[in-house]
Symmetry: C2
Subunit: 331 residues, 2 copies
């Protein structure tokens, strides 16, 4: 059986209060008794019972990080940045993964709330008034990353602007026909419109904003799950050389692979640009032109804001992180 402060009190012949003072660096105790108790704690391999402590103090010193996916380094880098800072403030982080399942996201949030985490950082996959109300009902400070929820503090890049500028970049590279590839968009409106596609929508909007302002440009949007055949057909049908602007590097990789199989060369036969600058791009030839952010910075900003919320301070709702267009060999 694990040893408790009660046991230590008996062993050291002091009261539980004194043991607490000794072990938690609280004032009002003599140096000698403190050291005596600390020594006993070490000897008996005392381990604080954080559950009891949490109950008593009303703080769990834990924050939940709710991700929808761990597949790409993006999130792992972000959670590492969060971990580091959280730990330096005495907080432990529980990482939980929703797997892009709305029901699972809900369960995880309620579970973390029941475990009384002191705060939450989440990449939401749900949207809508009901969901926002539900989150507020948890009565826990929350910061979102990526997808946004109206009224809840949020950290991300300015997706709209990034997509706008990327489209401009593609255009200035000489392309007069640009196709935006955004398969997640097909889910728009599914799940009773509950599916949160904010980031993707912003990217589409940014793209549209640019192409519509430049009337000489021709544009398309591909939202099919299996977009490669359509892309190939499109290339073969049109005489102008087109560029494919993918809302994520993953789709750019997919296109690259399929184009290669169909004997279409990049950038000779078509242009290609991605988004996110995934680390695996380093192993891909040709180097894909893409948009990059310091994802660590996103994580750091998110945890800093959360800590301020926990401390009861006011924070900005919208927090943008800088981004860069990374030139490659595919335009």
């Amino acid at each position: 059986m694990a040893i408790t402060t009660k046991d230590l009190a008996k062993i050291c012949d002091v009261s539980r209060g004194t043991v607490d003072r000794a072990l938690n660096g609280r004032p009002g105790i003599s140096k000698t008794t403190r050291e005596r108790i600390q020594k006993a704690a070490r000897e008996y391999n005392y381990r604080p019972h954080l559950i009891a402590s949490s109950l008593s103090r009303g703080k769990s010193m834990a924050i939940g990080v709710v991700l929808f996916d761990l597949k790409n380094r993006f999130f792992s880098q972000m959670s590492n940045a969060i971990n580091l800072i959280a730990r330096s403030h005495g907080y432990f982080t529980y990482i939980a993964v929703t797997e892009k399942d709305i029901e699972s996201e809900k369960q995880i949030l309620h579970n973390l709330a029941s475990r009384r985490v002191d705060g939450l950082i989440m990449l939401p996959i749900t949207q809508g008034e009901d969901f926002i109300r539900e989150l507020k009902g948890l009565e826990i400070p929350i910061v979102t990353v990526g997808n946004q929820l109206s009224g809840i503090p949020h950290v991300s890049i300015d997706e709209f602007k990034a997509a706008y500028e990327s489209t401009q970049y593609i255009n200035e590279a000489g392309y007069k026909r640009i196709c935006f590839v955004c398969p997640p968009f097909r889910k728009k409106g599914s799940q009773n419109g509950l599916f949160n596609l904010y980031s993707q929508e912003q990217r589409v909007e940014g793209f549209l904003h640019y192409v519509k302002k430049n009337l000489k440009l021709k544009y398309d949007i591909l939202t099919e799950k299996d977009f490669s055949p359509s892309a190939v057909t499109m290339l073969r049908k049109e005489k102008e050389k087109a560029a494919f602007f993918c809302s994520s590097d993953i789709y750019a990789l997919e296109l690259l692979r399929n184009f290669r199989e169909m004997g279409i060369s990049i950038p000779q036969d078509a242009g290609l640009m991605g988004f996110d600058n995934l680390d695996i791009l380093a192993y891909i030839t040709p180097r894909i032109t893409t948009v990059s952010t310091s994802i660590e910075e996103v994580g750091e900003k998110a945890i800093h804001i959360l800590l301020r919320l926990i401390a009861g301070e006011k924070v900005e709702t919208t927090n943008y992180i800088p981004y860069d267009i990374c030139p490659g060999e595919t335009l």
Copy 2:
């Protein structure tokens, strides 16, 4: 302020015991009062206080999953498999990441122990008697995955056998000179020998076992951090065509990229084989020959064993999962 069972008791004009019976499906309560209380709980947005519950029951219904890294899909797939099964048994999983830092691993383990998780699944990066003693001192059921710790239940593929058979596979593809690439090995003995390289060691052993039995074979082992230049030099110096067997796909990717830059073609000028079958290989040309496991199966096995340990049952210490050699275009 959140509502408690005490409040509900007052509201429904019953005792706290009855509220508990109603909310937790315990017997000894009439259908009508149960429903009345459940209704009130819903109305008042009651949320169970899992911290208090844990303290009282002596069980947190949480298990810790301690990973050293989230970078590859390998671990994310595994933790998803674990999550799913754990949840179906009422357990929540806390994922924590050590970032291959021995001190961080220690802290995380102690923290999780202090939070009284009911069990742990870990990919250890530390080894040695002291560490094993420390783990036992936590008095929590533990299952390891990947690296092994003597006496602690463990799930993985038979790395030795997989490496042995892979080497044989390379040999049978016609290579008489095989170089094993295993950069983590350079850390062997560092950190006062605390660094756990069990899996990697088993792979090296399997490789050596095969090449030493076949005396006509020439072999090398590369353990440098920056192994590509040596690999290139080796290729240029020797007349026989060599194959590089990498202890992880990551190194194979690295070699492939460097070889390409140096004008060395795979498989024309050299053979290449990886290990792990990372998902990103799908985007790489040529397709890298590698070894694959059902990582979900590893996760499932690990959580099943852990649940049995938690239930107080006896389990096997060594648990192997099947693997396959995935033919590619690089040999």
